[in-house]
Symmetry: C2
Subunit: 98 residues, 2 copies
């Protein structure tokens, strides 16, 4: 199962690191505890709507852009976890070889 909190956490960390900022800096700017932000980034906690708004604000990132990034990440994960389909010809060949 694809877990949204994991994708959100990874997207938050990626954005923070791409800005060259520390957990301390962003947690202070968002007025959330450093421990909480760290847990969010590791996908261990669900972000409340208020917290997510505050953190996106601290990263100067519109919530819509952030969600769009998360949507793209989830789409990639979905593509990787899609069921593999064998070509019918191969399945037939496998049966006749058996």
């Amino acid at each position: 199962m694809i877990l949204l909190r994991r994708e959100i956490g990874e997207a938050l960390r990626q954005e923070r690191q791409s800005q060259g900022r520390t957990l301390r800096d962003v947690s202070a700017a968002a007025a959330v505890s450093l421990g909480y932000l760290s847990e969010l980034e590791r996908g261990e906690k669900e972000a409340s709507s208020e917290m997510l708004s505050a953190i996106c604000g601290a990263l100067e990132l519109p919530l819509s852009s952030f969600l769009s990034t998360v949507s793209d990440r989830v789409a990639e994960t979905e593509a990787m976890s899609a069921p593999v389909q064998l070509p019918v010809a191969s399945a037939r060949a496998a049966r006749s070889a058996a």
Copy 2:
């Protein structure tokens, strides 16, 4: 402040209604209580990642598509709540008229 849970709730309700399905049907298919789904749709509860996956599954909607819809909704709300800027000429006219 734009609250993600409200946007998620409205997007869930819109999707369910566009499929012509009842709260009872979708909550049963997702194995969540009807009351919980109703609270989610009203933006009163934060959806856990597991619940959101289950509900998207029940709606036969990839999580990525759902998030993309939510991102679009949030972008619209952001555009509506952007600060209004007065044209400079009008502000000057207002001052000289005062």
